[in-house]
């Protein structure tokens, strides 16, 4: 008889919903239905039983086709590549468990790799700003229970984090927010009228690339100083009115996304947004939260930070010290400048996210991609090693976008003989030990 697994954590986006109900067949092999998840989340669970799933490693042949090989052969090839290369980019980590990252970092220390996660093309600039000015933040639970002024700046949760608005930021009724949506005032700052803008009380349409100036204007207005007539296409009267509205709130929160982190100025935009949040705490309670994308990209930052002190782009090539410099040890720069000799991708798809120059550079180097799916990175790799899907076929720790750790669960068995990320990395680690011991 099919059984229902409750309180399942969804391994898709940084919202990390933990109220899913998944029905699985009695032999624990097939997912029959997924409840409570958004369309993207359910699809992630249903992917496990898609026809044509790759269950064994594949190696590229001289004619460009892939041929199935054993896990042992793939592990040996990977370990040899890592030991031989003077500097290896070990990129990804955002869709695997913290336990797997820990093993991966051990390998990186031994082989002198550069560990980077997808913050590098996502919220890395937020992390730089946090290093520069700190961050007054809170958990999503506090937002649900307290926030009555919510700003979405350069993000579109209606599409990217579909259940964010219903679970935390707009619609839920909380302890001090008993009126739910009616008790909150929602602002959306964007250069386009997005679907998130449609549910906002106030939409502030900004010219693209003027976020820094507009945030500076908000700060200037909060201090009661004069402003020019328009700032990035927004009239000064609107700026003064919004600042007064925000000051009148009991608890405000800013959620920001790629519209701030990857437009002109990048980290400076976040820096200014954090400084504005800090300023608003002179008048009321205010917080700011990054809308992290991949479900465990925050976890990768956490694990790297407690192990090496830096949240991404950690260069371990001088094995007695960890170094970090965005612009130098970040994946795209390493690839475009040809500063690495080999690439090891795991649990993220750089082929889909990196600029084309970086992808072309990667395709010319020895590359191994570890991923449950066939994706754009596997297609430019020499070896593709499929693994069990973390959060569906194996458990592990993950961090939500507000830095709250949540344990993911195993709901079904992986296809027979498939390794998990932790098992695979442990075996690569052992093989690296053997090879380095023999040297």
């Amino acid at each position: 008889m099919p059984k229902v697994v409750t309180d399942v954590t969804c391994p898709f986006c940084g919202t990390l919903c933990d109220d899913l109900e998944v029905t699985v067949s009695d032999d624990n092999k097939k997912i029959l239905s997924v409840r409570n998840a958004c369309a993207i989340g359910s699809e992630k669970f249903n992917h496990t039983s898609l026809p044509g799933r790759v269950t064994r490693p594949r190696k590229r042949q001289p004619d460009g086709t892939f041929k199935e090989i054993t896990y042992d052969e793939a592990i040996d090839w990977t370990a040899n590549m890592l030991v031989k290369s003077k500097k290896t980019l070990m990129y990804g980590w955002a869709s695997t468990s913290c336990q797997a990252m820990s093993v991966g970092h051990e390998i990186a220390e031994k082989v002198g790799g550069v560990v980077d996660n997808c913050a590098t093309v996502c919220h890395g600039s937020s992390l730089i700003a946090i290093q520069d000015v700190g961050i007054p933040s809170c958990t999503l639970g506090e937002v649900k229970n307290r926030a009555d002024r919510v700003i979405f700046w350069g993000c579109n949760p209606a599409h990217a984090h579909p259940r964010h608005m219903s679970r935390y930021s707009i619609f839920p009724r909380g302890f001090f927010t008993v009126k739910g949506h009616k008790g909150r005032k929602i602002y959306c700052v964007d250069c386009r009228h997005t679907d998130t803008a449609r549910v906002a009380d106030e939409f502030i349409q900004i010219q693209q690339g003027y976020d820094y100036e507009l945030l500076d204007a908000f700060r200037t207005a909060a201090r009661g100083e004069a402003l020019p007539d328009t700032i990035g296409g927004v009239p000064k009267e609107k700026v003064y009115k919004i600042v007064e509205d925000l000051k009148a709130g009991r608890f405000g929160v800013i959620f920001f996304g790629m519209g701030l982190t990857h437009t002109l100025g990048r980290n400076h935009n976040i820096d200014e947004a954090i400084s504005f949040t800090r300023d608003m705490n002179d008048f009321t309670k205010f917080s700011i939260i990054a809308m992290r994308g991949h479900w465990n990209v925050t976890g990768s930052g956490q694990v790297l930070s407690w192990q090496y002190g830096f949240p991404y782009a950690v260069d371990l090539s001088r094995r007695n010290k960890a170094r970090y410099q965005t612009g130098e040890t970040t994946s795209v720069d390493l690839l475009v400048r040809n500063e690495v000799e080999a690439c090891f991708n795991i649990a993220t798809d750089p082929g889909a996210h990196f600029p084309i120059d970086a992808v072309v550079s990667m395709s010319k180097k020895p590359t191994v991609t570890v991923d449950p799916h066939i994706n754009m990175s596997t297609e430019i790799s020499d070896i593709h090693i499929p693994v069990a899907m973390v959060g569906v076929e194996t458990g592990g720790c993950a961090y939500r976008m507000d830095n709250v750790p949540i344990e993911t669960r195993k709901v079904v068995d992986a296809p027979d003989g498939m390794l998990t990320d932790v098992e695979l990395l442990t075996k690569i680690n052992e093989r690296v030990d053997q090879l380095m011991g023999a040297k």
């Binding site: 730089i128 520069d132 100036e213 500076d216 700060r219 909060a222 970090y324 040809n338 500063e339 000799e341």
Partner: protein
């Protein structure tokens, strides 16, 4: 002053970390000892002698040592880092971190420099005859101490984020600059003889930025106060004075707030 000449023998496959090419490390060493100094390429430990032919010998102290680099050094990082005295002359372009945390002496690059050069500079003279990349004279990531002293002169253009968290010293750019000049600055002086894209003095607490050309867009937190006559780097001219960033915190001196200043040539 004694001279050591390093001529590039072979270009590194990746990039070579040359933090030992400074008068301080070379001082008191002969050519064969300098050849044994470590250099790094990824995880590979190598020596300067592998990549350079070394001639001459160093003086007894850093101040008595001159280093001349010949050949293409565009894949060499960290040249002249933390130098306290003496002279380094590079006859080509260099890569990142050239002249980082420099405390004294003179460093001349007769080509372009990449990003993160002159980071947290405390003293000395750094001359770049070509263009400079981003983060010139800025602070290291997360540090609140950018350029603190000394002088950097760039004959060409500079990139973005120059002199972030600047606390002192002087930067003179004879060409143009991109966005984000003197962000978070708490002192120091920047002279730009060309044009600036925009975002000059964002979040600036104290310090001066003098622009001879045009600024694409003034930050909304800046307010025009008066016209002033100034002599800047040998040129006398009339400038419009703006104070700000009014959105940022500002300390008070004798009861009056101290602002950052932008001088724009009229």
């Amino acid at each position: 002053m004694k001279t050591v000449t390093l001529t590039v023998k072979q270009a590194p496959e990746l990039y070579l970390e040359c933090e030992n090419i400074t008068p301080d490390t070379f001082a008191g060493k002969k050519a064969d000892e300098i050849a044994q100094l470590p250099a790094y390429q990824g995880k590979e430990d190598t020596t300067l002698g592998e990549y350079f032919t070394i001639a001459g010998e160093a003086g007894a102290t850093a101040a008595e040592t001159q280093i001349i680099l010949k050949g293409d050094c565009s894949k060499m990082k960290y040249i002249g880092i933390k130098m306290t005295a003496g002279e380094v002359i590079v006859n080509s372009s260099t890569d990142m971190y050239t002249g980082g945390w420099m405390k004294g002496g003179k460093l001349v690059v007769k080509g372009d420099v990449h990003s993160f050069c002159g980071l947290g500079m405390e003293g000395g003279e750094f001359i770049i005859e070509g263009n400079a990349g981003n983060y010139l004279g800025a602070s290291y990531r997360g540090d609140w101490r950018g350029m603190q002293g000394g002088i950097i002169r760039v004959k060409g253009n500079v990139g973005s984020d120059i002199c972030t968290f600047m606390n002192g010293g002087e930067l003179i750019v004879e060409g143009n600059a991109d966005v984000h000049i003197a962000t978070h600055a708490e002192g120091g002086k920047i002279v730009i003889k060309g044009n600036v894209n925009r975002r000059v003095g964002g979040q600036m607490v104290k310090g001066e930025v003098i622009v001879f050309g045009k600024i694409g867009l003034m930050m909304p937190g800046y307010k025009y106060t008066k016209d002033v006559d100034l002599e800047v780097d040998g040129t006398k001219a009339n400038f419009a004075e703006y104070v700000g960033d009014l959105g940022e915190r500002h300390p008070k001196r004798k009861g009056e707030p101290v602002y950052g200043k932008i001088f724009l040539k009229k």
